[in-house]
């Protein structure tokens, strides 16, 4: 066995984890306020952003080729992108399962929805059809508005059976979808002069057209996945935890089946069903992967530290007590499910554009256990753990084991599916709470609130 290769890939794992911890540290740096020109200025935010840019630049530099040589080759950059998308998906699942306590196997389905949606938009765009972007864009916006409106309307009705409200939402969304398709089809030719497409550049499309389209595609894909999860979660989240798990597994299988038959059941011949969708523009660069990763981390951390985040945690801890504290449990569950799926959708969009080829096999529900394994491995309820485990898992399984085993014989890489479950088994025996338990680091760490300075107030007189 090649010892140097092994050491090198180990070093890579350690380096990438160290890099992540550095990133989390620099994002979380808090400095004392300084006085500049008589004004108190908080330099923390500036330092955080500057640190983030440096962190981005370090990898960007390592990826850039100088005289045909770069520190990180294409294989490594692939691993990086894969790890970034896996982190987004796993963070979303951790919000649903680790923080909110709803055992979900549907995350992979939302990931697939995100991937196919974003891929379809850009695929159509490079083939000179801007309707994909317009239809999906109009669709998610109208759909979102309809859901909000129905929600407003329903909030006045008391104790509405969940299936009735679901039916209303479903009808509303389907109508919104139909309207969006027709509005989009009508609007697209009118908008074409502004939007342009790959063949004729429009007014808006000067400069960085593909990058903008890609960004919109990924965001729309995320919102679309979130809206689907809302409709799916509404009736299903009223089920207890295990039943919810089975129902979400069913959802994953439905999505997989639709993908396999996307050219026959669904009217999307460009997705080519089980043969796989090819020709997706490879638009994911380190910039986008990094940007979306940091966005997901920041959004999730900001939710977790807020009152909303605490209500999400309280539902995991004790639903009855949460109810009695005035927390709308059904709403909280739905919210965390939708946000988690939004992250999965974004992850899918980024994934589709670095791999350039989508096959339904990648979204099989068996593969869908990966994010679940990752969050359990990293620690349920620990964002740091999830990030560490995602990167570690990808770099260990896809990086180290594949590289090392590949040197033994061409068939040997298959053995990694024997080795990694053994690793998992070992970790669960040694540390059942996962790698990090619920410990957080740097940026993700919640601030410890200092004890209150005791004003001598008359308290309950009951300790000696």
């Amino acid at each position: 066995m090649d010892i140097t290769a092994m050491i090198f890939s180990l070093v890579k794992i350690v380096a990438v984890i160290a890099y992540l911890y550095g990133l989390l540290w620099v994002l979380g740096v808090k400095l004392k306020k300084v006085e500049i020109a008589g004004k108190l200025v908080d330099p923390s935010l500036g330092v955080n952003i500057f640190g983030g840019v440096i962190a981005f630049g370090v990898i960007q530099l390592a990826l850039t080729k100088f005289n045909g040589f770069s520190l990180l080759n294409d294989f490594d950059s692939g691993l990086l992108y894969q790890a970034c998308t896996m982190t987004m998906v796993a963070l979303g699942l951790n919000l649903i399962y680790g923080f909110n306590g709803q055992f979900s196997l549907g995350q992979w389905g939302f990931y697939g929805i995100g991937a196919y949606t974003a891929a379809d938009i850009t695929y159509r765009w490079v083939n000179g059809d801007s309707r994909g972007l317009v239809v999906v864009g109009v669709g998610v916006i109208i759909g979102g508005l309809v859901i909000l409106l129905i929600g407003k309307f329903l909030s006045n009705l008391r104790r509405m059976p969940v299936l009735s409200s679901f039916t209303l939402y479903l009808i509303g969304s389907i109508l919104a979808g139909v309207v969006a398709v027709y509005a989009g089809k009508l609007a697209a030719p009118l908008l074409d002069p502004f939007l342009g497409d790959s063949l004729n550049k429009g007014v808006l499309a000067q400069g960085l057209p593909m990058q903008v389209v890609f960004f919109l595609a990924v965001v729309f894909a995320g919102i679309f996945a979130a809206e689907v999860s809302f409709l799916f979660g509404l009736p299903v989240l009223s089920l207890g935890s295990d039943y919810f798990g089975i129902a979400t597994l069913g959802f994953s299988i439905v999505v997989y089946t639709l993908m396999v038959n996307s050219d026959t059941i669904l009217p999307f011949p460009e997705m080519k069903g089980g043969r796989g969708m090819i020709g997706i523009p490879k638009l994911t660069t380190w910039f986008w992967a990094f940007l979306f990763l940091v966005l997901v981390i920041v959004i999730m951390r900001n939710i977790i530290r807020s009152s909303t985040g605490r209500s999400i945690l309280s539902v995991r801890e004790d639903e009855t007590a949460a109810r009695s504290m005035g927390i709308d449990v059904a709403r909280t569950k739905l919210m965390s499910f939708v946000i988690g799926s939004f992250f999965a959708g974004i992850g899918g969009g980024v994934y589709a554009h670095f791999i350039g080829f989508l096959s339904p096999g990648a979204f099989d529900f068996l593969v869908g256990f990966n994010p679940l394994i990752i969050i359990v491995f990293g620690g349920l309820g620990s964002m740091t753990g999830t990030i560490t485990a995602s990167f570690g898992w990808i770099f260990f399984l896809e990086g180290m084991l594949r590289e090392i085993l590949g040197k033994i014989s061409p068939e040997a890489p298959s053995w990694r599916y024997v080795l990694y479950p053994l690793t998992l088994l070992l970790l669960m025996l040694v540390r059942p709470q996962g790698l990090l338990g619920s410990v957080e680091w740097g940026f993700l760490k919640s601030k410890i609130i200092p004890l209150r300075k005791s004003e001598t107030r008359e308290g309950v007189n009951n300790h000696e």
């Binding site: 807020s306 009152s307 007590a321 109810r323 504290m325 709308d328 609130i449 004890l451 005791s454």
Partner: protein
Amino acid sequence: MNDINVGKTPLLQIEGLTKFFGGLRAVSDFNLSINSGELVGLIGPNGAGKTTVFNQITGIYLPTKGTVKFNGINLVGFEPHEITRTGIGRTFQNIRLFSNLSVLDNVRIAFHPQSGYSMFDSILSTSRFFKREQEIIEKAQELLEVMNLSRFQNEIARNLPYGEQRRVEIARALACQPQLLLLDEPAAGMNPKEIMQLMDMIHFVRENFKLTILLIEHQMRVVMGICEYITVMDFGEIIARGNPKEIQDNPKVIEAYLGKGAANAA
């Protein structure tokens, strides 16, 4: 009842409350009326249906029949969280803290309905988020101080001693800004000294937070010591009501607690 309260609508008025679990009649035709500021006890042997009454008031069970009027609004059919938001706080018989969270978080969670900022404020870290969050921290710390829990602020709730956990539960219920506080066996599992402290504390919060309290209790010492009115239940029905003195001498109550013939022996 006090003369001042004559003609005033009671804070909580329960009429004909009935609950069946399948064929089992857990509570039948339960009536209770509590005026603002009163401290009322609900006692009875195990399985008498006291906690079921609580769960129906707070909306965890939907009553089979009957009305629960709070400030004149019928609460039947409201979701538990909506009932809490109308001003009813409660504690649980078997402590139900958010056991893996810190004591401060436990109390802060109860401020969620009054947090005053949306999720988007927190995502964008607006100044409103920081301001409200600071207010919530201050209010929560104030409550902890009142309940003498300040030094446990950052402890994980499940690591606290039993008596302190009970106090956290009460602090959490107070954070809901209730008008009516329902205490479900607050003295369960406490030693005589802790019970004395508990009684002091109940008096203290009642006066300081201007609360009306309805309390379930087994320990006669607590009930007789602090309650102004007592309702006694057995097998889902009210068997007696009155002030502590009357209850103590009521033969039906003695029979329910000690068995048939005990009233004569006593």
